[in-house]
């Protein structure tokens, strides 16, 4: 068996992908609308199949610190949560970034602020892409807009996390978490062996033995000059990541006079709005950032620069629009349309917003 077609919820796809791509451990605490991640992992009992550990921690604070510990040993570990739970993890994420460790965290966003609502939202863009914890760090952020991408981005997330030794976030939302779509799943990949980790991850704490240099994993460096050096090293990684790993998708942009810029579920709704607008002869396209950090600046600048106007559609009060404006250096009028607090904009509503912008 090589590949298999399944009908799955986005949340289940995250869990299934983790098992099949050789994830070593998941630590999480349930919260709507992403509880199916932990449910699916528990039901599948991967510890019997691949040896993957699944543990329901006592809180989100415990989850992220278990991830910190697991990552310190070179294991491929992850957690998932939704907005209020993800807020609780920010300190841990800052430590993981500071200690330069790979880890994957999934945020299936719900409306805020505070406990907010359990309905979908995209209001955690700032928190995720600008650094929700303290210090000069970034989360590499992937924004899936389909169940297949929920599946694919787990392995991609681990690859990027290990490439840069930095935490990676999958920023999803209640729509993509709850929707069921076709997903092509892979065969089980074996987990890394301890020998492989020792060979490929010299930074990992794999146990002190005769002849082996000890490894210390920490985010603390009291000598300011040395800490500046740590920061310079981290920033150099971020510049490399910006140059090599910004991703986007452009849909019907070639002849477009206007574009939507939208990610995740909002991008899917905009695809429908493109269809509605094109049926009435309005030349509109869609640029969908796939990585939110690094933001696909070059693509948005290049495509957006040709447009008369840009409509940035988000399920928030306007967060990504700041990156869009920076990308086009405010040379192209850029307008925001958003619904928030758990309300999902309809395709017709976005089409109307486009018409309002044009006239």
């Amino acid at each position: 068996m090589a590949k298999e077609l399944k009908l799955m919820k986005g949340n289940q796809a995250i869990a299934e992908a983790a098992i099949r791509c050789g994830c070593d451990g998941y630590f999480g605490y349930p919260i709507t609308p992403q509880s199916e991640v932990l449910e699916h992992l528990m039901a599948e009992r991967p510890y019997l199949k691949t040896g993957m550990v699944v543990l329901q921690a006592e809180s989100e604070l415990a989850s992220i610190n278990m991830v910190y510990a697991g990552a310190s040993t070179g294991k491929r570990v992850m957690t998932s949560s939704s907005s209020p739970g993800f807020s609780l993890m920010q300190e841990g994420l800052s430590y993981i970034a500071g200690a330069e460790l790979p880890a994957l965290c999934v945020n299936v966003v719900r409306g805020g602020p505070g406990l907010g609502t359990i309905q979908p939202s995209q209001s955690d863009y700032f928190q995720t892409t600008k650094g929700g914890g303290h210090g000069d760090y970034r989360l590499i952020t992937l924004a899936p807009s389909s169940v297949q991408e929920m599946y694919d981005f787990v392995e991609l997330g681990f690859d990027l996390a290990f490439k840069y030794r930095n935490p990676v976030a999958i920023l999803s939302d209640g729509v993509i978490g709850q929707v069921m779509e076709k997903v092509m799943i892979d065969d089980y990949k074996p987990r890394w062996t301890n020998e492989y980790i020792e060979e490929h991850c010299p930074w990992a704490a794999t146990g002190h033995r005769a002849g082996k240099k000890s490894t210390i994993v920490t985010s603390l460096e009291l000598d300011s000059l040395k800490q500046e050096g740590v920061n310079e090293r981290i920033q150099a990684k971020y510049r490399k990541c910006e140059a090599e790993d910004a991703r986007h998708e452009a849909i019907q942009c070639d002849d477009a006079e206007y574009i939507f810029v939208a990610y995740g579920s909002a991008a899917r709704i905009c695809m429908k709005a493109v269809e509605l607008a094109r049926a009435e002869g309005i030349k509109v396209g869609l640029v969908r950032p796939i990585t939110l950090w690094p933001f696909p600046k070059k693509a948005v600048a290049e495509i957006g620069g040709r447009m008369k106007k840009i409509l940035c559609v988000e399920m928030s009060a306007g967060q990504m629009i700041e990156d869009v404006k920076l990308a086009v250096e405010c040379k192209v009028p850029t307008i925001h349309y958003g619904r928030y607090g758990g309300v999902i904009p309809t395709p017709v509503e976005i089409f109307e917003a486009l018409k309002n912008m044009i006239k």
């Binding site: 009908l7 609308p33 359990i118 309905q119 779509e181 709704i269 695809m271 429908k272 999902i344």
Partner: protein
């Protein structure tokens, strides 16, 4: 071909599973599919709905506010979704418990008296499959063979002996379909 469907009723009527069976049957027929439930507190004893899309192309938005077909199973859903059917679209409903019948003249409307039939035959759990049969009689989007495969995929193996009964219920639904004329 793209068919955008809303199925809406009470939690427990089998709204979500009907959508899931339809989606699985669509996959078997090589279609792109999307199944988006309402989720949250409204599902526990209250109303429940699911948006199902079957298409030959990549599906744009899984979230919609206009539908080719609305399958409506209670009054609250009628109040909410009758107006969401596209002009020229289809509305199928079970008249059981409906006090305000649909009034639109620009769409096709059919009744499937599934609740009465299901209780008469003592197969109340197959209510949703009777409704599905009514829908497939108007729009045969998936073949009986693919529906069979869809049932195999969506039901756990311990329930596979019930597949023939599900298929019988679909056939019963096809026979119950009755056009409804708005006066």
């Amino acid at each position: 071909m793209t068919e955008e469907i809303i199925i809406a009723g009470f939690g427990g009527q089998g709204v979500l599973s009907m959508g899931k069976i339809l989606a699985y049957a669509g996959i078997m027929q090589d279609k792109e599919v999307s199944w988006l439930p309402s989720y949250g507190p409204e599902m526990r004893g209250g109303t429940s709905n699911v948006t199902v899309i079957l298409s030959d192309e990549r599906i744009c938005s899984p979230y919609l506010n206009q539908f080719d077909t609305a399958i409506i199973l209670n009054q609250q859903s009628m109040d909410k979704f009758e107006s969401a059917v596209k002009p020229g679209g289809l509305l199928i409903y079970d008249p059981n418990g409906i006090t305000n019948h649909p009034t639109r003249k620009d769409i096709s409307i059919y009744q499937v008296a599934a609740a009465d039939k299901a209780s008469e035959l003592g197969i109340s759990k197959l209510f949703n499959m009777i409704i599905l049969g009514g829908f497939l009689a108007v729009k045969p989007l998936v073949t009986p063979e693919m529906l069979h495969k869809g049932l195999e995929k969506s039901l756990p193996e311990r329930h596979h002996h019930l597949i023939p009964k599900n298929e019988e219920a679909v056939e019963i639904g096809k026979g119950l379909l009755k056009p409804y004329n708005v006066l």
